[in-house]
Symmetry: D2
Subunit: 135 residues, 4 copies
């Protein structure tokens, strides 16, 4: 059991959905925020920085959106499902756009390849969380 | 002209919509994030903290969502309108829910009254930005 | 009286120092976070982006540090002065480094000039807050 | 090799110190930010919330400081060591204060016990990073 999962199970209130899946979604969100922060900065450090301007922008946005979504989903006290739902939709959008751009640079920059995979994983996790929250 | 407005007009890329209105939206978002951070903490410091638990939770979420939306809207390079749009929808949802809860405590706690007004102002600003981005 | 000031005076707990000066410091911190977010993105949008890589990095760091410092200073319940103090020191460092770099590009990019001035204002505000907290 | 480690090694610029240790520090920082976000919210959901007000405040601050420190350390392009150093000092302070408070409630609340352990781990990681950056 991960630390995130342990914290969800020791919380006095009930989780929005299955704690094991919720914990995994939260860990994916924080992980994707880290990857996007790293990739934006790695792109900035490349000699051909002018070719990855869009990648820097989308990674920067995606990092912010993933962190806020990860923080909101970490909370279980007096949850407003509509906030979680709309944020997850923004996160699916940000991760999808960022993944698409990272994939365009995957052959040239290994950090874009790794970050693109993280964004796709996070996009899927948010889609599944969206279904779980909506049901 | 505010500093935010000046920075938008000195930016090399074109803004998503009218810079004067965009600057005002961004300032409202950062301002609301500050108000919600203050109100969550003021509620936490009240003797009857157990009666404002929902207010603390919603202010905490709203602060996070407003900051991320304010940051994303501040950026004009290679903007993805779908990210801005879905985030603005999440922000309207968070501000509306937070305002509703703050208004319930407005008669007892002045900080809830002030914060409720800020959240309503931000909710309106995000709704208008949403129309401007979508058009 | 600004909204931030009004929220500090309606807070049930006493502020770390004079509420008028504290409110002004907090507003400066949130304002500088906005300026640095804007300037990092404006630099990214410049045709000569490769010449402002250091400015983008320092603005990005400075935005993050200012936001966290602004949030922590906004809270008055059970304040730990040592956290406020060390964060303010980090913020003086980040603002000073970012101002210095922005000033190097002020003649070429108006957004760097504006952002450099904001960083200097914030550096001073944090230094004064540091003295107020320490005394 | 973790994703964070893989991203550090595929970065075009050199890391501030040994990439394996740096990656582990960054992961600990993001993990501690998640734990503190969870614990603040779990405390808020407890029936005896009035007894854990200080824990909520310190966890909230600690989450913000850990996230900002984790983001700044994730960046390797044009690093300013003084910013990293002062932020790490703020993070050691925040983690130490938060751990001490969590430990006071560890017998009553399992989430405080888990979060206290995470804060101590992060405090140590930041102390070690501080030595590595300074040398």
């Amino acid at each position: 059991m991960t630390t995130t999962h342990e914290l969800l199970t020791t919380h006095p209130r009930e989780a929005a959905f299955d704690t094991s899946r919720l914990a995994s979604t939260i860990d994916t969100l924080f992980g994707c925020a880290q990857s996007c922060t790293s990739c934006a900065d790695a792109c900035l450090g490349e000699e051909d920085v002018s070719t990855v301007v869009r990648c820097i922008r989308l990674c920067t946005d995606c990092a912010d959106v993933c962190l806020t979504t990860g923080r909101v989903l970490s909370r279980q006290t007096e949850t407003d499902p509509a906030i979680a739902r709309t944020l997850l939709e923004a996160c699916v959008t940000a991760c999808g756009a960022c993944a698409e751009e990272c994939e365009r640079h995957a052959a040239h920059h290994d950090h874009c390849r790794v970050c693109g995979e993280e964004c796709r994983r996070c996009e899927r996790a948010c889609m599944e969380a969206l279904e779980a929250v909506a049901s």
